[in-house]
C-alpha cells in the first residue's frame, strides 16, 4: 500500500510546489471602441481582460482596426499589463487609423510577452 501511496504523494507534492510558478491565463472578456472627441485625437478601445489563473505575470494586449472590405490592418497598438491571480483589468489602447471607418475590431491578450 505504502509503495503505491509514496509515488502518488511525490507527484502531488511536486505539482503543489510548482503551482506558484505558473503564469497568468488571460482571456478577453469584452472590448468597446470609442471614436475621438475631437478631430486628430486617437480612437480608444477599452479591453477588459480576466486572468483565469492564480499565476501572475505580464500580459500583452493587442488591438487592431481592420477594414472590413479589404481586410487591411488600418491601425494596431499593444499595451502590457501586470496581472495578479484571478484579476480583471480594463486597459485603454489608443489607435490612430487614417480613415474614419467603418472598422472591424480585433483584440487579443497574450502570455508570455
Amino acid at each position: 500500500m505504502m509503495t503505491r501511496i509514496l509515488p502518488i504523494a511525490a507527484v502531488v507534492l511536486l505539482a503543489v510546489s510548482t503551482a506558484a510558478c505558473f503564469g497568468p491565463k488571460p482571456t478577453v472578456l469584452s472590448h468597446e471602441l470609442e471614436p475621438p472627441e475631437q478631430p486628430g485625437q486617437p480612437w480608444v478601445i477599452y479591453v477588459t481582460v480576466e486572468n483565469r489563473s492564480r499565476g501572475e505575470g505580464q500580459v500583452a494586449v493587442t488591438a487592431r482596426l481592420i477594414d472590413p472590405a479589404t481586410r487591411d490592418v488600418l491601425a494596431e497598438n499593444e499595451v502590457t499589463a501586470q496581472f495578479r491571480g484571478h484579476e480583471t483589468i480594463t486597459v485603454a489602447i489608443e489607435l490612430q487609423p487614417q480613415t474614419d471607418g467603418p472598422f472591424e475590431e480585433q483584440v487579443e491578450a497574450e502570455y508570455p510577452t
Binding site: 503564469g23 502590457t80 501586470q82 508570455p112
Partner: protein, 321 residues
C-alpha cells in the same frame, strides 16, 4: 529482480511470453505515436515555447534537441511499428473465424530464413540428456504450420539452427528458465542461468566457452565425474520443453516480425553531477530485453511529452519585459 525485469522479461511461461510480445509491439506503436505527437506539439506551439525559453534564459536549442531526440526515437522504432502493424494484419483473420493453422501458415510464409552464423548463448551449467551425457539435446521449435528452427543444447551452449530471421534471445531465455525450473524439481539448489550472450558480446562468450571445453577435455583425460556444474534433463523434461516450444510457435512468429534490439545495459548514478563527477555508481547488465530498453525509452518520451503539455497548458511565470 534485474533478471526478471531487465535481462529476461516475460519468459517464465508461455502466457508470460505471449503478453511480453504483445507488450513489445504496443511499446513500438506507442513510442512512434508519442514522438510524432510531441514533434507536432512542439512545432505547433513553437511561438509559445520559444518565447518561454527566451524569456526564462533556457537555450532555445533545447527545443531542437528534444525534436532531434524524438525524431531519432521515431526512426529507431519505425521497424517495430511496421512489425506491429504486420502482426495485427496477419492475426486479424482469426477475429473473423479463420482457421488458426491457416493464419499461422500465412505468418510462417512471411518469415525469411536466417542467414549467417547461428545465434548462441552460454549457460553457467552444462545440461545433458540423462541417458546420453555427451549427446546434445535437440528441441525443435515447430508446429503444424511450420518450423522456426531447432534449439540445440550442447553442454553449456544453446544455439538455434535452421532458424528463421527475426526473433530475439528471449527464446533462449525461455528455454533456460524452463530448464532451470525442471532441473530444480530434482535439485532444489541448482541454478541454470545464461551468463554470456554471443549476439551481444561474442568475444567474451567464446572465451567462456573455450574454458568450459577445456574442463570437458580435462574431465575426459582424467576420467572423473563432470568438473563443470552439470545437470541432467530427463526424457520427460525434454518432452515438456518440446511441447511448450510448439505451443510458443505462434507467439514466436509474431516476435519474428519485430526488430531484434539486443544490447547490454548500464545504469549510472552520479553522486556528484557532471562536470565534477568524481564519484558515480554504476550497474551493468549483460543483456537488456527489448521490452526493458524500449520500455524505458517510452517512459522517457512520455515524461518529456507530459512536461511539454503541462508547460503549454499552464505556462510558467517569466519576468516582465
Amino acid at each position: 529482480m534485474s533478471q526478471r525485469i531487465v535481462r529476461e522479461q516475460g519468459t517464465q511461461s508461455v502466457p508470460d511470453y505471449q503478453s511480453r510480445v504483445r507488450r513489445l509491439a504496443l511499446i513500438y506503436v506507442a513510442i512512434v505515436l508519442v514522438c510524432v505527437g510531441a514533434i507536432v506539439l512542439i512545432v505547433y506551439q513553437g511561438k509559445l515555447l520559444i518565447t518561454l525559453s527566451q524569456r526564462s534564459n533556457v537555450e532555445t536549442l533545447t527545443l531542437a534537441f528534444i525534436i532531434v531526440l524524438f525524431a531519432y526515437l521515431t526512426l529507431l522504432s519505425l521497424p517495430g511499428f511496421w512489425g506491429a502493424l504486420r502482426i495485427a494484419a496477419l492475426n486479424l483473420p482469426r477475429l473473423f473465424g479463420s482457421d488458426a493453422i491457416e493464419v499461422e501458415r500465412r505468418k510462417q510464409s512471411a518469415l525469411r530464413p536466417h542467414t549467417g552464423e547461428a545465434d548462441a548463448v552460454f549457460l553457467n551449467s552444462r545440461l545433458y540428456p540423462e541417458d546420453a551425457p555427451d549427446a546434445p539435446v535437440e528441441l525443435p521449435v515447430a508446429d503444424e504450420a511450420g518450423s522456426l528452427g531447432t534449439i540445440v543444447i550442447d553442454g553449456v551452449r544453446l544455439t538455434r539452427r535452421e532458424a528463421t530471421r527475426g526473433g530475439s534471445n528471449s527464446m533462449f531465455a525461455y528455454v533456460e528458465q524452463r530448464a532451470n525450473a525442471l532441473v530444480r524439481r530434482r535439485a532444489p539448489d541448482a541454478k541454470v542461468e545464461i551468463v554470456q550472450w554471443a549476439t551481444i558480446d561474442d568475444e567474451q562468450g567464446y572465451q567462456y566457452y573455450s574454458l568450459v571445453r577445456f574442463s570437458e577435455n580435462l574431465q575426459r583425460e582424467l576420467q572423473t565425474p563432470p568438473l563443470w556444474p552439470s545437470y541432467a534433463l530427463t526424457d520427460d523434461d525434454i518432452a515438456t520443453l518440446r511441447r511448450e516450444l510448439a505451443e510458443l510457435c505462434p507467439t514466436l512468429r509474431n516476435e519474428a516480425l519485430l526488430p531484434d534490439v539486443e544490447y547490454s545495459a548500464e545504469h549510472r548514478l552520479p553522486i556528484i553531477p557532471e562536470p565534477l563527477a568524481f564519484i558515480s555508481l554504476s550497474r551493468s547488465e549483460s543483456r537488456a530485453d527489448p521490452v526493458a530498453s524500449m520500455g524505458c525509452a517510452l517512459i522517457v518520451a512520455l515524461v518529456i511529452l507530459a512536461i511539454v503539455v503541462v508547460i503549454v497548458l499552464f505556462p510558467p511565470w517569466v519576468p516582465a519585459r
